[in-house]
Every structure is written in C-alpha cells, then in structure tokens.
Amino acid sequence: MNLDFDFAAEQPKLVQLLLGIVAFCAVVALLLLLLDRAPMRQRARLHAAILLAPALILLAIGLVVPAVRTTMLSFMSGDGAAWVGLDNYIWMFTQPEAVTVLRNTLIWLALVPILVTSVGLLYAVVVDRTRFESIAKSLVFLPMAISFVGAGIIWKFVYAYRPEESDQIGLLNQIVVALGGTPQQWLLEPPLNTLFLIVVMVWIQAGFATVVLSAAIKGIPAEIIEAAKLDGASPVQMFFRVTLPSIRSAVVVVLVTQSIGTLKLFDIVRTMTGGQFDTSVIANEMYNQAFRYGETGKGAALAVFLFVLVTPIVVYQIRQRREAVR
C-alpha cells in the first residue's frame, strides 16, 4: 500500500487548512479590536456579548440546526421526500423488533447505573484505608483506559464458544467445562445475552465509580465518624447512617453520568453482537436505520426519542448542581 503523503495531491486540502487557520486568527484579532473599541460605559455587557457570540453561533450551527433538522426528518419518509406524520413513531412503539430495542434500553438503564454505583461503592468502602488501597484502586480503574470497542472484543473472547469435543478458547466456557458443565453460547440466548453485555459495561465503569466515591468518602469529616463510633454504631449502621448520607451528592453524580452514558451506549452492542439475537439498543438501531438501511426517518425518530429520554436526567443534574451551589 502506498502510504507516502503526496503534498502536491493534497494541496487543495492544505490550502483549505491554511485558510482556516488564517480565518481563525483574523476572527480572534477582530474580536479583540472590537473589545478595545467598545464604549467605556457599556463595556461589561458588550464584552459579554462579543465574547459569547462565536460560541453561540457555533452552538447554533453544530447543535441547534441539526436538532431541528433531525426532528423534521423524524416526521418524513425514509428518503426524506414526503411527510408521513407520526408513522415513524408508531413503528417504533408497535413493531415487535423495535419494541425489543426499547425494552433492552430499559433493561440497560435499570441495571447499569445501579450495578456500577453499588459495585464501585462497595469496592471503595472495602479498600478504604487498607494497606493495598492504591493498588486495588488502580486495578479496578484499569479497564477505564480501554475503549468500549476494545473491551467488547476482549469480552467477545471471554464468551467465545467452541464445541464440547474441542479445546475451549473462551475463559467462561473453560471454567464451565472445568466444573463439569457443557459449553454454552452465551451471546445467543435472549434475554440472558443482554445481561452478559451489561457485565462488560459494569466492568469498564466500576473504576470510575470507585474513584469518585472513594474521594467522597475521604472527604467525610473525621469528627462525624468519631462521634458515630463513640455512640457505638455498628459497621452496617456506620455505612447506612453516616457514610451514605454524607456522600449522597457524589452518588447522584455517578448515577446520573452512568444513566446518560447507558442511554447513548452503542459500541459494546455493535462490537459484540451487532444488535443480533435481540440485543440491540436505541443508539445501535438508530445507526442501522439511518446509515445502513437508508431509513433516515426511522433513524431520526429513534434519535429524537433518545434525546427525550436523556433530557429529564440532564435537567435533574443541573438542578442538583444549583442546589449544591446554594
């Protein structure tokens, strides 16, 4: 394969790149000049307007316009040629395969944030102030460094199946065989296969929860713990009456970020099953419909629905933050 970078052939792109850089510098220079020339008295407000303008314009082009267009597309036919009213949404809530997708997303949403938070919390409490704390935390944090696609491939091997008579290459089936069982096709049996995919997500995200919650636990004032101990609180009481209420806001942060991440989940499903065997989730189906099947309308409808699902969580998070500031 020819990997030489041919400057002559790439010249149009390079010129575009340079134009972009020059334009950027020009805009920055212009902004600064405008700021300088603004009348003294109204400076504060003008400054804000001038400095915010580029961000607002970019936000409009990159976020608002596509959102409006996607919403419009969701009421149109597959090729975007005709208005079809609510057909795409009706399809989404009535067709069995689309309903399966929604059901799977709900399973993910119900399990992942809770599992990640509880695994992370348990781990953080158990290793807290032990000798090997830093090593233990690094270990559980390691999977965070692996991309979702990479993790998907790793776990595909963990779940790999080979017939009974030949050597197993999958860790899970090898364990099953060693215990005297027969190898299983883990990723083929709905609805259990969705749970096997969820394990992957928990494996990746637990480290994040551990680190955030562990930091919060360390932030609990020593006096409170001491007072509770003097009052004769048992370890279980300590956990539920002292530790948990003290780190409530950190727990909420973990739950919320995990919920949003779970709703948008795409990579694990696409890498491991491609959405086959009733494991598809909204983001995966959206990609399939819009980009593989040319059914832009249905894809857009799924995207809009995903947006609707994420919105309340985001609103809740912003409210929480405001309260925390107060």
Binding site: F7, L14, C25, G78, Q95, F277, R292
Partner: protein
C-alpha cells in the same frame, strides 16, 4: 486583564502567528511530480490511444474493495494512467454503503463508484445523482456482457455503467480426496445431494458445515443459501418477482424453499461439522465456516467462489487437490441457474476523462490484464479463460461464459437496503437461532418499505 488592555498587540501577535503558519505550510507543500507526464513509448501506448489524452486530469474512484485486491486494480490501470496522462485516485473503504450516501449528500461524491449492490445503485440513479453512461460504455457493455448482467445497471431504460468483477455463489465446496477415499460421487440433483448427506451422516461425520457470522453483516451467507434454492425451486422468473416484491416474502412457495434449506441447516444430524449444534452456525465466522473440511470433520460447505481465499495456508484448491467445488444441484439436472454477485462502475460526473476510465474498465483488455495479475473473475465475454489463475476461477468463468447459463444476481443486493442489508440478514440469523420459518418470513415481509 492585561490581555485586554493591549488588544492591538495581541491582534498583531495573532496575525503574525497565522502568517508564520501560512509560510510553514507553503514550505512543506512543494509540488512533487506525479504520475503521467510524457506518456511513455508509442508502442506501449497504442492500445490506449482511443481513450485520448487527458494530461493532468484527475479521476477519483470510491470502492468497497481494499488491500491486496485494491493494489492489483491500481497495477492493472497504471499503463492506462501513464498513456492517457491522467491520475486515478483510488480509495477503498470498509464502510462503503454508509459513506457513499454521506459523500453524495454532502456534495462531495467521487467521480466513479464501484457499486456491489445494484439496489444501492438504483437508489442513487433514481435520486438523480448518477450520470448516464456514455454511448461508448453502453456499446462495450452490450458487447461484453449478457443482458442478465446489464439489466441490473439499467434503471428506467437508462444505462448507468458496466459490470466489473464477478463471483459465482452456487458452489458447494468439498474435499476431492475425501470423496475418492470414501467412494462418494458428486451429486447431480437435489435428491442425490440429500441422499449423499444421509450417507455421510450415517458414517459418523456431520456432512455440512456453515458459518454466518460477519460483524454487522451477520446472516448474509444464510440468505445466499435461501436465494440459491429459491432460484431452483421457482425458476428465474419467479425469482425476479420475489426480488421485486411482486411475490410476497411469506408466500407459501418461499416458505417451502426456506424449509428445504432448513432440512440441512437446521438439522442437528447434518450440521455443524466441526463446530457443534445448529446454533453454532450463527456464531461461526463465515471465513471459518468451511475450514473443518480440511480436518475431515465435515464434508460439504456451500459458499461462493471467493471462498478459495479463505482456506488455511497450503490447501491446494483443484479438482485433484485438497478442496474443490461443485455446482449446487437443483431438482432438474438439465437446468443450471447460477447465483452470483459483482460490482458495477457508475459515475457521479460526466467529464471526458471519467467516461474514458469507465470505457476502459468495460473492455476485455482490462479484465484480461487484471486476471494475469492474480485471482479474478469477470463475466466479461471477452475474457480469455487461459488467463485464469486457479481452477476455481476457471470453473467460474466457464459457467459465466456458457451461453446456456441463466444468471441471477444475489437478491439481497437488489432489495431495498432495509430488507436486503437489514431484516433479511437479521431474520435468517434468528431463524438459525431457533425461530420458525413462518414467523421469520412474516417479520421480513412486514419490514418491506412501503411506497
């Protein structure tokens, strides 16, 4: 806020940084010499004289074919580039189906695209994005290909481009040495095929092996199976009706054909040699589907001619070698419809140099030159069979060139993508995974796009 109190100075700095970047960028983009130029010697270039001179012109090609095969393409047309003076920018991608749409919508289409799915080509033609092929390309295509082929790139009586490569799908791979040793004969009819399967199964070997896992295209090898049998059961005309959705997907005739395949693929006695029970078909990669034949754990594997590339290293593909293929028989040994696939060369631009490339790729000269470099099959009638690089290419070309052969294109490539690259694949995967025929076919029928 010292930054804001000296805005003029900052502006100056920003400006000069920009200038420095411009200067740096220009310095590194010194033009280097490209292909073409003086045009080579006249004798070498005589065959390319008819395409004219296109000094310094560029043609971009976008295609799903990558790696080794892509390099061979470029080697093949290098003399053409040199003699006409143009430069062909070839880009292969693994995401052709999705990206070609994005590029066309974004106003940045390639000049030429190699479409492996006539259904996709039709979508672009109907959207008015493709340019009709020139009279010369049409003349060449009519001369070199049968009407079975050219009809796939003719939409509403407008011809959009000639076919390029081809593959034959109606093959059953087997081990000649194993057959000889056990005294099995190559079946000539479907009944003989089933009897042979019974015989092999009685001998303690699972006769068939298969694999349909293929990333997000999982399921396609099973759809090929269905199409091949359907083509034999309801004939080429019925097959065309089915592809065009004039015959419902859940019609009793289709159900019967699918069940006929099910008698093999969903029969634990017959599959999945070397891999386990029926369900292991769904999780076995298609590339590995037939490999157990080489270990004697399976005897038969239905897969296209290109499977020749997937045998383990050192496997001899020949009639007297380790593996070879026979024609998947139908009920009537006199009728031999062939299921296959291939690419079509359609253009988004009609500049003279683009049309020259299209014309060149439609010639027998191109196909022969490409075949001399490595394994390649084309349905081009002008192809010299002596150029075939291996016995399976030879067999494929013989079948494609036989005037009695009725050729039909892989149906899932002709249907709307929502079915052909979506629910049909998914449905057949579910079918292998345990769902019954009627449920799966109803599901596919309901997913056919309205309008």
């Amino acid at each position: 806020m010292s930054l804001l109190s000296h805005p003029a100075r900052v502006a100056l700095i920003a400006g000069s940084v920009g200038l420095a970047l411009v200067a740096g960028g220009c310095g590194s983009s010194e033009p280097t010499s490209t292909a073409g130029g003086d045009g080579g010697t006249s004798a070498e270039c005589a065959p390319y004289a008819e395409y004219g001179k296109h000094e310094g012109k560029k043609v971009s090609i976008y295609s799903p074919i990558r790696d080794v095969e892509a390099d061979l393409f470029q080697q093949t047309w290098a003399p053409f580039e040199k003699c006409t003076g143009m430069k062909i920018n070839y880009e292969g991608t693994g995401e052709f189906e999705a990206q070609i749409q994005v590029r066309a919508d974004g106003g940045n289409p390639p000049d030429i695209a190699f479409f492996p799915q006539p259904g996709l080509l039709e979508r672009f033609a109907k959207a008015g994005k493709l340019k009709p092929a020139s009279a010369k390309v049409k003349e060449l295509a009519d001369k070199n290909w049968s009407a079975d082929w050219t009809k796939y790139s003719t939409i509403d009586d407008v011809f959009y481009g000639a076919p390029l490569g081809a593959s034959v799908k109606s093959f059953v791979w087997y081990s000649p040495s194993m057959f000889k040793e056990r005294g099995w004969a190559i079946p000539k009819t479907w009944d003989e095929l089933m009897t042979l399967s019974e015989t092999i199964a009685a001998g303690g070997v699972k006769p068939w092996c298969a694999g349909i896992e293929s990333g997000d295209a999982t399921g396609w090898p099973a759809t090929d199976w269905i199409e091949d049998v359907l083509l034999r059961e309801i004939g080429p005309e019925g097959y065309d009706e089915w592809v065009g959705h004039k015959l419902a997907f859940n019609d009793p005739k289709v159900v019967a054909a699918v069940d006929k395949v099910g008698a093999i693929l969903k029969n634990d006695k017959f599959v999945n040699g070397g891999y386990g029970p029926v369900k292991s078909i769904a999780s076995t990669a298609f590339q590995e589907g037939g490999v157990p034949i080489t270990a004697g754990k399976c005897a038969l594997h239905r897969q296209a001619s290109f499977y020749a590339n997937f045998w383990p290293e050192g496997t001899k593909v020949a009639e007297d070698g380790d593996v070879f293929a026979f024609y998947l028989p139908g009920n009537d040994p006199a009728k031999k419809p062939v299921l296959g696939a291939g690419e079509f060369v359609a253009a988004f631009a009609d500049r003279p140099e683009v049309q020259a490339v299209q014309a060149y790729l439609a010639t027998a000269d191109y196909a022969n030159a490409r075949m001399k470099l490595g394994t390649y099959v084309s349905a081009n009638k002008g192809v010299d069979i002596a150029n075939a690089q291996n016995p399976i290419d030879k067999l494929s070309i013989e079948m494609l060139q036989d005037p009695n052969t009725v050729f039909r294109f892989d149906g899932s490539d002709l249907m709307p993508a929502a079915v052909g690259a979506g629910t049909f694949w998914k449905g057949m995967t579910d079918w292998i995974n345990g769902k019954d025929t009627k449920t799966v076919l109803d599901f596919i029928e309901n997913s056919w796009p309205k309008s």
